[in-house]
Symmetry: D2
Subunit: 279 residues, 4 copies
């Protein structure tokens, strides 16, 4: 077994990573990509097992289960078939999997723990959210009242860009320091999450980045009937979708935006980090 690289599953980012590595002369195998690579010399495989047998380096998707297998099946497969000669690279690796990898002494790299990858991921996510908001609404973002729930990486990028489009942006967070920062560095309006109730009816757009049920039934009764809600928290999102549908709200769970709106640039960044890691 030589240093063959398997690229597995995922979205268009995996396709672009494959293209990049093939062009650079790496020995590449692919399995279950969203789209065939077409150009250059590479091997298309027909099973995960095949990939594990033929390749030492396994480039898995972000998140790890995307267009691969359900987490339970993946766990079993990895447990049975991976050896300490493998190197596994992927994003948002769940604890179940990382425990197995640790146990089997398999070297692995969670790309989403790389700050550089994660923040550039946030940029693509922010742009995708903005496009979704423009297309889901019958008003402009310009001059509209926007609420951003949370002030982590994605929210910071998104709130800044919304302000750059001349929306009137309020950030809601539980952390006083985050709010002070949002105001001082980014010039945003702020509200403590516990004071949200009073001002919730003001907003024409709500962007959720908090991965827990913030917009529950209680809160959803308070929003404007014509509000546009864009939810970019990882599945299952932060909204009571059942009730949102019942009330006829315009709420949209947007997952995997980087793979949709900026697969090439995302792949370029991932590829750089991957090569730095394996070389």
């Amino acid at each position: 077994m030589h240093s063959k690289i398997a690229i597995l599953g995922g979205d268009m980012r995996q396709v672009y990573i494959a293209k990049n590595l093939i062009k650079k002369g790496y020995s590449v195998c692919t399995y279950h990509l969203e789209e065939p690579v077409q150009d250059g010399i590479y091997t298309e495989l027909h099973s995960f097992e095949d990939a594990f047998k033929k390749c030492q380096i396994l480039i898995c998707p972000i998140p790890l289960t995307k267009n691969t297998l359900p987490i339970e099946d993946l766990t079993i497969l990895f447990d049975k078939k991976l050896t300490k000669d493998h190197v596994l690279i992927g994003g948002a690796i769940p604890k179940e999997i990382s425990e197995i990898l640790d146990e089997k002494k398999i070297v692995y790299y969670d790309l989403m723990k790389n700050e550089k990858v994660a923040i550039l991921n946030a940029v693509a996510t922010a742009e995708g959210s903005i496009a979704a908001a423009i297309q889901s609404s019958v008003i402009n973002l310009h001059g509209s009242k926007c609420l951003v729930l949370g002030y982590g990486r994605c929210a910071k990028v998104l709130a800044g860009k919304l302000k750059g489009l001349n929306a009137i942006v309020t950030v809601a967070s539980r952390t006083e320091a985050a709010l002070a920062y949002a105001n001082a560095v980014a010039g945003l309006e702020t509200v403590h999450l516990s004071d949200l109730e009073k001002i919730l009816p003001n907003f024409e757009f709500i962007f959720n980045t908090i991965p827990s049920l913030i917009l529950d039934k209680n809160y959803l009764t308070l929003v404007r009937p014509d509000v546009v809600i864009i939810d970019i928290a990882s599945a299952p999102g932060g909204i009571d979708y059942e009730y949102a549908v019942e009330r006829g709200l315009n709420a949209k769970l947007c997952l995997g935006l980087p793979g949709k709106t900026a697969p090439k640039i995302s792949a370029d960044i991932l590829e750089g980090e991957i090569l730095e890691f394996i070389d």
Copy 2:
């Protein structure tokens, strides 16, 4: 004949104008709208002639021929059927039509000559262009090199918003004063249109707002093969589309964006101006 209002043709903005006026108690007739109004009391007509007969005030679309009739037929129809008791409101009224209206002493109002309407139109167009650019590309606008051709109303709004998204924006224009202004007020890079050739290969996004053939075959040979071109100049746009297709370029003519991405807010503004005019 009392002051009945006919709302004719056009895009979703006409539908929202109709809804607004019905809700306010005006006596409204509709014909050939993009979508039925559904709520409230109004009359659905079955021909233009019918509208001219039953209604004094005629609210035509922006631009005037949108979802109505070809300009030639419209000219004939207006000439035959309109009288000086009519009041005609619409946008981008062509000279052929305005001459007839003048001759027949019909009061009319071109909404696109209203600076307030026109500039808010530009906002909706800019947002629609940005959404189109995000969705047409495999990279981010963030950090990308963007060229904006022209520096009129739409270009000013668009260039400012692209910069607000952290794109690196260059404005190209024929007017020295416009370029000085773009730099001093908006902090943009600038280039004289006659010096464009040298730097054309730099750009990852090109937004055209100039309604004449700027990106001809000559220029299109110079752009990057993976450039994204968004053309928002009024039809037929400013690009040699035949050659663009031949070279396999990603060029998109985006017309009527306000009616697509912000019909409600656009309608609210139009309605305000219309009521100020007719009351």
Copy 3:
């Protein structure tokens, strides 16, 4: 008489223009500059008359009377001593003077009528105003409520920069189109000048760019006692200073800012335009 250049009066911009031209090998005479040039070969003259005798090209200050002579004396002097062999260059040339120059068929160039010069002048003025506001106040611009009176060149640049510093900026103007533009292009709050009264007490900073008495006694009774007023309208400014002093207001007339805060860059731009004109 050969093409000797006289550089006369004015602020530090004239000094830098002199330095630039001397360095480029032009034959330069100076009179009444704010500071001696020191480096290079040039002639220091001892009267205007001397300058007119020895030099064909006369580079006068912006505005024309700055550090030269009162307008009446200048008019007399020019009338008596200039001939049609002279070329006069200066800024904001008053009508009294231009009429004489026309009459005597003297070629002249008003630099402030050059859009490029004027707008870059506006940039330096805006930065100077911002520095003055920061230093005159005991609060931050960040998050403060700022009013910009007028929306001409200087106001456009200034309002944009204040927003860039995260101030909350409202523009007041008489022109509906200017206000629509301020909102759509620059994302600013707007108010019609006639509705100013109601909101005047809100503002912590007021920047006046309108060269007529806007902030009269009536209006000055409405502002907060701790407001900071920065007046950059050309002398005598747009404020009832007598009453401002009486009420103990913090109002500051800031004239000639480009010559104070950015003389070198301003001189570079002026020099470029001057050389283009005389070569």
Copy 4:
């Protein structure tokens, strides 16, 4: 001894804190303020010892030694005269002092460890730096090439504001994550501190926020002779000032900016935190 409050030393912020507390009816003593308070009822004391005797709550300056006593003398004084009944409030409390306070079981509060205070401090510092840069230079910030050394709190606020003024801003830091963040969230150019050498000659303005000797002799030989250097790192700053003078560079150490450019707003924030602490 009742809960009398002593306000001691420092800059204009202490004066405004005193004014605020007096107005709210607190029993206030002052000693060694930069300016007399004038309005309201309060007691002016004549020694620190007097203050310690008469007051339980001691509001010391930011930083602690500002306009009080050298650190050695302050240490001795505190050690001798403070008891566990005192409550000490101040900013940037040095370790020598905090150790004594701990030992004597005196309750104390370092205001600069309050994230909210610290970040709003950063805002005032950023505005002061900008005013200093505008006034120290003969060019505009607009369009100029600015380097910001460091990307902590002050740098983040400052870099954002410089960009808001349309400067072209590069951030230099040792941390990859900080640089990725500066680019993704704030849209800034970035450079690793170790690659600074190559691009150092490009900059027209350099703002240092790193409290260690970054711009040593080596680096200072590389900067443009007409560069403007604004140093806001705490004393003794981050520049080899001796060599800077030798080379005739325009370098300025700006300390205590919040007390100079925004004492009132700073005092308001401090007072809020102080009251929350003592009530």
